[in-house]
C-alpha cells in the first residue's frame, strides 16, 4: 500500500483493481457495520441505508460545492454564474475543473479543511435524516419501520433526480477535487482515507457494543417488553441507535462523492446501498463485526471481479452481465439464509466480566421445568445468589 501511495504515476492494470476493491470495501464496510450495529445488535431493521448514503452525497454536491465557490470568489477568482438552476448545471464543469481545482491546487490546508467540513456536515445531516425518517414508524412494529424506510429510499432518489439545486438532477454534477494538491493518483489516497475512516468507525462501534449500552441494545433485540418493564426508554434508545448509525452511514456517501469527484442520484440506488449491505450482513453473520468484514470482502471482491471480467462473461451469456449479477446476488441471499441461517461466522455469546458462566450453564442444565416437581411454598430454586441468601436466612 505504501508503494502505491509513493508512486506518482497513474495507477493501472492489476494495481487499479486492488485500489478499486479497497475503496469499495471501505465504503461498504462502513455501511454494513452501521447496519450490523442497528440490526445485528439492536434489532432495528433499517432498510433505508440508501437514504443516509444519498444524504452524504448531496451534502458534498449541494453544500461543500457552494461553500467552495464562495471561498474561491472571495479569493478573487472569477467564476461563471452559478445561481440559477440552468447555470448551476451547465457552468458546473468549467467552474469546477478549471477555476476551482486550479485554485485549490496551491491550498492544501483549505483542501483538508473542506474534506473535514464535508465529513462533519454529512455526519450531522445523516443523523438528522435518521431522526426524520424514524418519526413515523419507530414506535410501531418492525414491519411498519421496514415499509416506511424502503419507501423513503425510493423517495430520496426521486427528489434527487428532479430537484436540480441538490445534485444537478439526472445530469449529475462535478464536485471540487479536495486532493488537487496531491501530485500522485488521487484515488489511492482516497482509498487509504476511506479504509482509515472504516477502521475508526470499527473501533467506535466495538467500544459501544462492549459497553453497558451495547448490552442494553442486545437486550432490546432479545425482548423489548422486558427492557421496557425495567424502566428503559426503548423507543428513545432505538431512535438514538438509528440516528447514530445514520450519521456514520452518511460518511460513506460523502467519501463516494469525493472518490468519483461526481455526484448523480443513479450512483445511490436502493439496490446498491440497501440490498447489498443487507446481503453482506446476512452472509457474514449478523451480530459480529468479523462476519461483517468477511461478508463485505467477499461480495465486493466478487462484484468487482465480475465487472472486470465482463468481456469474458458476455461471450458466454446471451444477456447482459448486470442482470446475471442481480440473479446471482438475489439467489445468494436465499441460499445463505437456508443453509447458513446464522451466517459464515455465527455470533458469539457476549462475555460480561463478573459472571460465572460455568455455574450458570450447569444450573440451567439441572433444572428442567417441565419434569421438575412443583416447588413448595418457601422453597427456592434459581440462581445461586438468591438461594444462598435464603439459606442463610433459614
Amino acid at each position: 500500500m505504501m508503494d502505491l501511495i509513493g508512486s506518482l504515476a497513474a495507477v493501472s492494470g492489476q494495481a487499479r483493481l486492488i485500489v478499486d476493491i479497497a475503496m469499495y470495501f471501505g465504503l461498504f464496510v462502513i455501511v454494513a457495520m452501521a447496519l450490523n450495529f442497528q440490526y445485528g445488535n439492536a434489532g432495528v431493521p433499517n432498510m433505508g441505508c440508501a437514504v443516509q448514503v444519498i444524504v452524504g452525497g448531496f451534502t458534498v454536491s449541494a453544500i461543500t460545492t457552494r461553500l467552495t465557490f464562495w471561498i474561491v470568489q472571495q479569493a478573487g477568482v472569477q467564476l461563471l454564474p452559478y445561481r440559477s438552476n440552468y447555470d448551476w448545471v451547465y457552468n458546473n464543469f468549467p467552474n469546477i475543473s478549471v477555476h476551482t481545482n486550479g485554485f485549490l491546487k496551491d491550498q492544501p490546508m483549505l483542501c483538508i479543511s473542506l474534506l473535514l467540513f464535508s465529513l462533519a456536515t454529512s455526519l450531522i445531516l445523516g443523523a438528522a435524516i435518521g431522526w426524520l425518517i424514524a418519526v413515523p414508524a419507530i414506535r410501531l412494529r418492525a414491519t411498519y419501520l421496514m415499509i416506511t424506510l424502503i419507501t423513503m429510499a425510493d423517495a430520496s432518489q426521486i427528489i434527487g433526480r428532479n430537484y436540480v439545486p441538490l445534485s444537478g438532477g439526472t445530469l449529475g454534477m462535478f464536485v471540487p477535487n479536495v486532493f488537487a494538491f496531491y501530485p500522485g493518483d488521487r484515488t489511492v489516497l482516497m482509498a487509504v482515507i476511506t479504509l482509515f475512516i472504516g477502521l475508526i468507525s470499527f473501533f467506535i462501534f466495538r467500544t459501544m457494543l462492549n459497553s453497558p449500552y451495547g448490552r442494553l441494545m442486545r437486550s432490546i433485540r432479545e425482548n423489548e417488553v422486558t427492557v421496557g418493564s425495567v424502566g428503559k426508554n426503548v423507543v428513545g434508545i432505538r431512535r438514538n441507535i438509528l440516528m447514530f448509525a445514520s450519521g456514520i452511514t452518511a460518511l460513506s456517501g460523502c467519501l463516494l462523492a469525493f472518490y468519483f469527484s461526481y455526484v448523480v442520484e443513479a450512483n445511490y440506488q436502493r439496490a446498491f446501498w440497501t440490498y447489498w449491505p443487507w446481503l453482506m450482513l446476512i452472509l457474514g453473520g449478523p451480530g459480529n463485526n468479523a462476519g461483517t468484514f468477511l461478508g463485505t470482502a467477499l461480495i465486493v471482491a466478487m462484484r468487482r471481479v465480475i465487472i472486470v471480467s465482463k468481456w469474458f462473461f458476455d461471450t458466454v451469456l446471451f444477456f447482459p452481465i448486470s442482470y446475471f449479477e442481480q440473479i446471482l446476488l438475489g439467489a445468494l441471499l436465499i441460499v445463505v439464509m437456508m443453509f447458513r441461517p446464522s451466517g459464515i461466522i455465527p455470533e458469539k455469546l457476549l462475555y460480561i466480566p463478573g459472571i460465572n458462566y460455568r455455574q450458570l450453564v450447569r444450573e440451567e442444565a439441572k433444572v428442567d421445568w417441565r419434569t421438575a416437581p412443583k416447588a413448595k411454598a418457601g422453597a427456592t430454586r434459581g440462581f445461586g445468589l438468591f438461594r444462598r441468601k435464603k439459606e442463610a436466612e433459614t
Binding site: G43, T148, M152, F324, Q326, I327, L329, G330, M337
Partner: protein, 319 residues
C-alpha cells in the same frame, strides 16, 4: 367518450392497484410478512400479455387467464422453495421480509433477461411498450376500461363470497387468525397457505396484464408500484381485505387525479414527483392512525351514535 380521459385513466389504475393490494393484504394475513416481491408478479402478467400479442398475434384478453395461472405458479414456487423452508427453520418476520427483497431482485432480473432475449430474437421493442392498438372499442370507449372495472368488481364479489361462504375461505380466515388453533381443528395449514399464495400471485399477474393496455410498461413497472400497494394496504389497516379495497381505490384515484390537479394549478413539474404521493399517504396514515380504516371502523362500532348511524343506512351488524 363518456368520461374525460384522465378519469378513465384513474379508474383503470385504481382497479389495478385494488387487485394488487388485495393480494398484498392476503399475503400479510396468512404469512404475516409484507411481500416486497408482490409488485414484481405484475411484471409476469405484463410479459405474458406482451408475448401473446406481439409475438403470437393473439388478442391480449386471451392472455388474462393465462397470466392469472402463470402469476399463481410463480407465487406458489416462491412460497414452496423459499418462504415455507425459511419459516419452518424458524425465521422471523424480518428474515422473511429480507428474503422477499432478494426474491424481488431475482424475479425482476429474470423479467429483464426475458425482455432482452425476446428483443434479440424477434427484433422488436420489449421495454416501454403499450398495447393500446390491440384493444377493442366498447360504447365508444377503449375496451380495457369496461373490462378492468368489471374484473375488479367481480373479483371483489367472488372474494367476499369465498371468504364468507366456502370452506376454503373460512379456513383461510381461521389460519390468518390463529394457525395453531386451526391446525388443531383439522385444517391443513400448508394447503391453505398454497391456496392463498396462488390467489395473491394470480390476482397480481391479472392486474399486471391490464397495465400495458393503458400505461407504458417495462419489466420494472410492477416493482415500482410496490409503494402504492403498501400505502393502499396500510390505509385499509394492513390486516383487512375490505380495507385494502377502499385503500386501493383511494390511492389509485388520488395518485392520478391529484397529480393532474396539481399540474393544472402549480405547473407541469409536479408530475415528476408523482411517486411521492403514495409515500405521503403512507406517512400520514402512520402518524395519524397506524391501524388505518380498521381502527376507524372499530371506533364507530364502539360508539352508540356510530352504530345508530350505520343501522339507519342499512348496515348489517354482527352481534
Amino acid at each position: 367518450m363518456l368520461l374525460p380521459a384522465i378519469w378513465m385513466s384513474a379508474i383503470v389504475y385504481a382497479a389495478e392497484i385494488t387487485l394488487l393490494s388485495i393480494g398484498f393484504t392476503l399475503t400479510y394475513l396468512t404469512a404475516k410478512i409484507p411481500n416486497f416481491a408482490h409488485g414484481t408478479y405484475a411484471g409476469f402478467g405484463i410479459y405474458t400479455v406482451f408475448t401473446l400479442t406481439r409475438i403470437l398475434g393473439i388478442s391480449p384478453y386471451i392472455g388474462f387467464p393465462i397470466a392469472f395461472f402463470i402469476g399463481g405458479g410463480v407465487s406458489i414456487l416462491v412460497y414452496v422453495i423459499v418462504i415455507q423452508v425459511l419459516s419452518r427453520m424458524g425465521g422471523g418476520t424480518i428474515v422473511l421480509t429480507i428474503a422477499t427483497l432478494g426474491i424481488q431482485i431475482f424475479l425482476t432480473a429474470a423479467l429483464l433477461i426475458y425482455a432482452f432475449w425476446i428483443r434479440t430474437i424477434y427484433k422488436t421493442y420489449t421495454v416501454g411498450f403499450m398495447l393500446k392498438e390491440n384493444d377493442f372499442q366498447l360504447f365508444d370507449m377503449p375496451g380495457i376500461f369496461t373490462v378492468a372495472v368489471s374484473i375488479c368488481v367481480v373479483t371483489v364479489i367472488a372474494l367476499h363470497y369465498m371468504l364468507t361462504r366456502t370452506k376454503t375461505g373460512i379456513a383461510m380466515r381461521a389460519t390468518a387468525e390463529d394457525p395453531e388453533l386451526s391446525s388443531v381443528l383439522g385444517i391443513d395449514i400448508n394447503r391453505i397457505q398454497i391456496y392463498s399464495w396462488f390467489l395473491t400471485g394470480g390476482l397480481a399477474a391479472l392486474a399486471g396484464a391490464m397495465i400495458p393496455l393503458w400505461f407504458s410498461s417495462t419489466p420494472t413497472t410492477g416493482s415500482a408500484m410496490i409503494t402504492s400497494i403498501m400505502a393502499a394496504s396500510l390505509i385499509g389497516g394492513f390486516e383487512n381485505v375490505y380495507g385494502a379495497i377502499i385503500g386501493g381505490i383511494a390511492i389509485g384515484f388520488s395518485e392520478i387525479l391529484l397529480t393532474f390537479g396539481l399540474q393544472q394549478t402549480l405547473g407541469m413539474w409536479v408530475g415528476e414527483y408523482r411517486p411521492l404521493i403514495p409515500m405521503i399517504f403512507l406517512v400520514a396514515v402512520l402518524l395519524i392512525e397506524p391501524a388505518g380504516l380498521q381502527a376507524a371502523y372499530e371506533k364507530i362500532m364502539a360508539s352508540k351514535t356510530g352504530r345508530r348511524f350505520l343501522s339507519t343506512i342499512g348496515w348489517k351488524m354482527e352481534g
